[in-house]
């Protein structure tokens, strides 16, 4: 391949990097992130992101070119990286120049003077000339990073990513650690500043991560071997000790972390429940349900109507009695919706269920059914769960007295949610390998063959639907007591999309994957205000990228992994992939 052609590659990657940078600027991400520092008073998160983009273009350009040439020559690498970074810098500089000439703000809300100030590192017009230089330097660093031997490259990359994560979470860690007394508080103040890491904190984290990462890559194999060489009994003991430790942390966590983090964990648990439910219908049985929120709504409304002391309360029974009823109601509703729609084939099923979900929301929020469901005003005054005896119902809008332990706030409901999530994960795990679970997977692979093997399609699909609904219903029931009220407007399609995203990102059909997905997609945005503004943008991007690059998910189920990479390993031309649904 000719040389100038290769440089064209570098420029192209640089341009792509520049476009990504411009995109992030225009949607306002750079500006929002600039309010947070990576290293206090040295570099903001926004600057860090811009530099990281230039660095990444340098890295990727170098990698692409050395892949094309089949060799990694240092001079070539450095030139390619610098060129890519330079291009990125020039593109952003051109944008800044354009912004100073015409008023871009008439169209783009975020093309504000503040943004241009950030992009030029607060140096005004002179800063425009700095951008290409910074870009080139960052690109050069990216190229250098690529040229390093594998042994160093990985730890450094990890350390940079870790620093980014630490900077995002620094405020959170700081608050939690300062709540403790003594040395922990001092340590927190030493490592974390008001807005980001302190300089010494950065250096310490950087060195520690590199050291651990290098040690781990050198030692991990021998540690695993050592574990495998232990006698069976010893292995069990280690597992039990680890589990006990985990349980101890889980039980004590809300008391240490305070109500905010407890609430986030409750939400993660609730979404994990829903995702485990949808994982049965989508992951095991291959039925995409975009109206999954309907079952959540049924669970929520059942508990609300049965326990509320507000004007719409019907029965005033205790939460513990209402929950099984709510789960049962969701299951019945699952059967009710499942019966008609299950004859519809794959992609149409997704749209039909979406329609059902929207119908449920519209009906629940309409004035037509307001006498039953409260209409747009919703149901309020939901009795908190009470472990002990519940006082008599006096009159409307007066909560009943709880003689015993009341699960009043997120710190207490945490235990209910965690128990529910563990229970559901256990059930899902047992179902997966059961006769029913295998029947679901057979249907997912090929309906006709499954039917020929004597599996009743309608019954089996219906069971997947009903069980998925039950899980979502339990989630809805717990959600109701967490919030204390229900509004039809919170039963949006976006909830269903959240659940689908969790499953896709975590790993379709994989139970640990779904739990990891719930933590990553629900927990992180809740904890980070900066990210939560862009969460749906990121979900959308994640769905596309996962489908293209890693359809098996972050923590894939072994079956799905085998299926997806089955055809690649076959040398003979394989038959065209069959539709899943």
């Amino acid at each position: 391949m000719k040389k100038d052609n290769l440089f064209w590659f570098a420029i192209r990657i640089g341009l792509l990097g520049g476009i990504v940078g411009l995109f992030l600027s225009l949607i306002g991400m750079i500006e929002v992130f600039s309010k947070r520092d990576v290293i206090e008073n040295v570099i903001t998160l926004g600057d860090f992101m811009l530099l990281a983009i230039a660095l990444a273009t340098g890295f990727i350009a170098t990698r692409t070119i050395s892949n094309l040439l089949n060799q990694s020559k240092l001079v070539n690498n450095l030139m390619a990286g610098t060129l890519a970074g330079l291009t990125t810098g020039i593109l952003i500089a051109a944008f800044v120049w354009l912004g100073s000439q015409i008023n871009l703000r008439a169209v783009f809300l975020n093309a504000s003077p503040a943004l241009f100030d950030l992009l030029t590192f607060k140096r005004g017009a002179a800063g425009v000339w700095l951008l290409p230089e910074f870009g080139a330097i960052a690109g050069l660093m990216g190229a250098l990073l690529f040229s390093l031997p594998e042994k160093f490259r990985q730890p450094i990359t990890r350390a940079i990513i870790f620093l980014f994560g630490m900077a995002l979470f620094s405020g959170l860690f700081r608050v939690v650690m300062i709540n403790q007394s003594g040395n922990i508080e001092k340590l927190a103040k030493y490592l974390f500043g008001q807005t980001g890491l302190t300089l010494q904190g950065t250096i310490i984290f950087f060195v520690v991560v590199i050291a651990i990462s290098m040690l781990w890559s050198a030692r991990s194999q021998s540690i695993q071997d050592g574990f495998a060489r232990l006698p069976k009994k010893g292995q069990t003991t280690i597992r039990v000790v680890l589990l006990a430790l985990l349980a101890y942390i889980a039980l004590g966590l809300p008391q240490v972390s305070g109500p905010f983090i407890a609430q986030v964990i409750v939400l993660v648990c609730l979404y994990a429940m829903m995702a485990l439910g949808l994982n049965i219908t989508l992951g095991f049985a291959g039925l995409l349900d975009l109206g999954f929120v309907a079952f959540f709504a049924v669970g929520a409304y059942t508990v609300g109507l049965l326990t509320s002391y507000g004007p719409f309360g019907l029965q005033h029974i205790s939460f513990w009695v209402a929950v099984p009823i709510a789960v049962l109601a969701s299951m019945m509703f699952g059967a009710f919706l499942g019966l008609p729609v299950l004859g519809i084939r794959g992609d149409y099923l997704a749209i039909a269920t979406l329609g059902f979900g929207e119908i449920v929301r519209l009906l629940a929020g309409s004035d037509f059914l307001a006498p039953f469901f409260g209409g747009p005003q919703g149901i309020i005054g939901i009795q908190k769960p009470c472990l002990g005896t519940l006082g008599e119902f006096v009159r409307v809008d007066v909560p009943r007295v709880c003689n015993g332990i009341e699960f009043g706030g997120p710190k207490e409901i945490y235990y209910i949610a965690l128990t529910g999530a563990i229970l559901i994960a256990f059930i899902a795990w047992r179902l997966q390998r059961s006769r029913l679970g295998r029947a679901w997977m057979a249907i997912r692979e090929d309906e006709d063959v499954a039917e020929a093997l004597g599996i009743n399609l309608i019954q089996t699909k219906l069971l997947a639907y009903i069980l998925g609904a039950a899980f979502a219903g339990l989630g809805g029931a717990i959600f109701t007591v967490l919030v204390g009220s229900i509004f039809a407007s919170s039963m949006q399609l976006i909830v269903s999309i959240n659940v689908v995203s969790i499953i896709i990102v975590g790993g379709i059909g994989s139970i640990p994957g779904v739990i990891v997905g719930a933590i990553a997609l629900i927990g992180l945005p809740e904890l980070l205000r900066e990210v939560s503004e862009f969460r749906y943008l990121l979900y959308g991007a994640a769905l596309i990228m996962m489908m293209i690059a890693k359809p098996e998910g972050l923590w894939p189920s072994p079956t799905i992994l085998r299926e997806l990479h089955h055809e690649e390993s076959e040398l003979a031309p394989s038959k065209p992939s069959k539709a899943k649904a």
């Binding site: 008609p340 519809i344 149409y348």
Partner: protein, 355 residues
């Protein structure tokens, strides 16, 4: 051996019983509601005409959007979930041009040219974005199982929505007032808003142009060939990739034009405006028979009219309070019913339930 167990027979009965019950319920509501409404005579015939005209103008917009769904489905057998968002991008493109033209006074002087250029600009923006989406989110997934591109399309839909939210903010922009479009025209002695008539005429014109392109040009012939059989079309020397991109661009251009027409009626644009019309247009496409271009037009009009007339005709007299809140529910119920009972639509050829 084809012995079915008792349990299986019970499920089968339950399914068919349920479906019949559902049908009977819907038919009952429609017949009873219509009968009672007509007897009550609450609305004058002028009001009914107004409902129908509103329905047609709304329906012709649905039809324009539905064309994109139907063309893409015809060629790739995929539901382009992000198509509603393409419609939204067109509305934004038209909005910015129209605001600018109004600002410099051009729109007041030459309203026709201004209006047409807003539509053309919206079509261009929509087509460009649709081509980008196709290149990034769909093309790498061609030939994958059906659900895979659908999920990618859902991702693209949310990505576009929240990109526009980031670009232009979460608020709603008021559409500039085009003075030439104010007022009524009298047709058959009934005063009808000018905007509605212009929307209907523009939409019909666009559809006619599209129909001409698909049926009578070489490009259209190639498109039909690709939708018939990709491999054979490729053997005949047709560049399949180029045809697919063109299809996306054409469908998107129709959606972009629909975006301008929609915002003429509703007078506002916002990042979330694409979702509901998108789903309804999909309903229209399925109603007419997906993959079928005249079907999408018919489906759009039928859906628009039903949605506009439905609340007053069927629901109000059955005792439903504030039936207009359930306008969207009518469309969704239609969607579910078509998918259940006649997935091949009104004009569509019979396609088997299994892919």
């Amino acid at each position: 051996m084809m012995r079915t167990s008792f349990g299986e027979r019970v499920t089968d009965w339950a399914v068919s019983g349920f479906l019949w019950g559902f049908r009977i319920l819907i038919i009952l509501i429609v017949v009873l509601g219509t009968f009672l409404t007509i007897r009550a005579g609450k609305y004058t015939s002028e009001q009914w005409i107004d409902f129908v005209v509103s329905g047609i103008s709304q329906g012709s917009i649905y039809a324009l959007i539905a064309l994109g769904y139907t063309m893409v489905y015809g060629i790739l057998r995929m539901i382009n979930f992000a198509h509603g968002e393409i419609f939204m991008t067109g509305a934004f493109g038209g909005y910015f041009l129209a605001t600018w033209l109004t600002g410099i006074g051009f729109m007041d002087k030459y309203p026709a040219i201004g209006f047409i250029s807003a539509i053309l600009f919206a079509m261009l923006i929509s087509a460009l974005i649709a081509m980008l989406v196709e290149r990034i989110a769909y093309r790498p997934l061609r030939g994958a199982p059906r659900l895979v591109p659908l999920i990618s399309a859902i991702g693209a839909s949310f990505f576009l929505q929240y990109t526009f939210r980031g670009f232009f903010g979460p608020g709603v922009y008021a559409y500039p007032r085009i003075k030439a479009l104010d007022g009524d025209w009298a047709i058959f002695g009934v005063e009808i808003l000018k905007v509605k008539i212009i929307v209907i005429v523009a939409a019909l014109l666009m559809m006619a142009i599209l129909y001409y392109i698909v049926m009578f040009t070489k490009m259209g012939k190639a498109m039909r060939a690709v939708s018939e059989n990709k491999d054979v079309a490729a053997l005949m020397g047709i560049d399949v990739n180029r045809i697919i991109v063109t299809t996306f661009a054409l469908g998107a251009a129709m959606a972009g034009a629909a975006g301008v027409l929609y915002s003429l009626i509703f007078r506002q644009v916002g990042f979330f405006m694409g979702f509901t019309p998108g789903i309804k247009a999909f309903t229209a496409a399925v109603l007419g028979g997906i993959g079928n271009i005249p079907g999408a037009m018919v489906g759009g009009l039928v859906l628009g009219i039903l949605e506009s007339v439905g609340p007053a005709l069927f629901l109000e007299s059955v005792g439903i309070d504030r039936p207009y809140q359930l306008k969207d529910a009518i469309a969704y119920i239609m969607l579910v019913m078509i998918l259940l009972f006649r997935p091949s639509g009104i004009l569509g050829e019979r396609i088997s339930k299994k892919a």
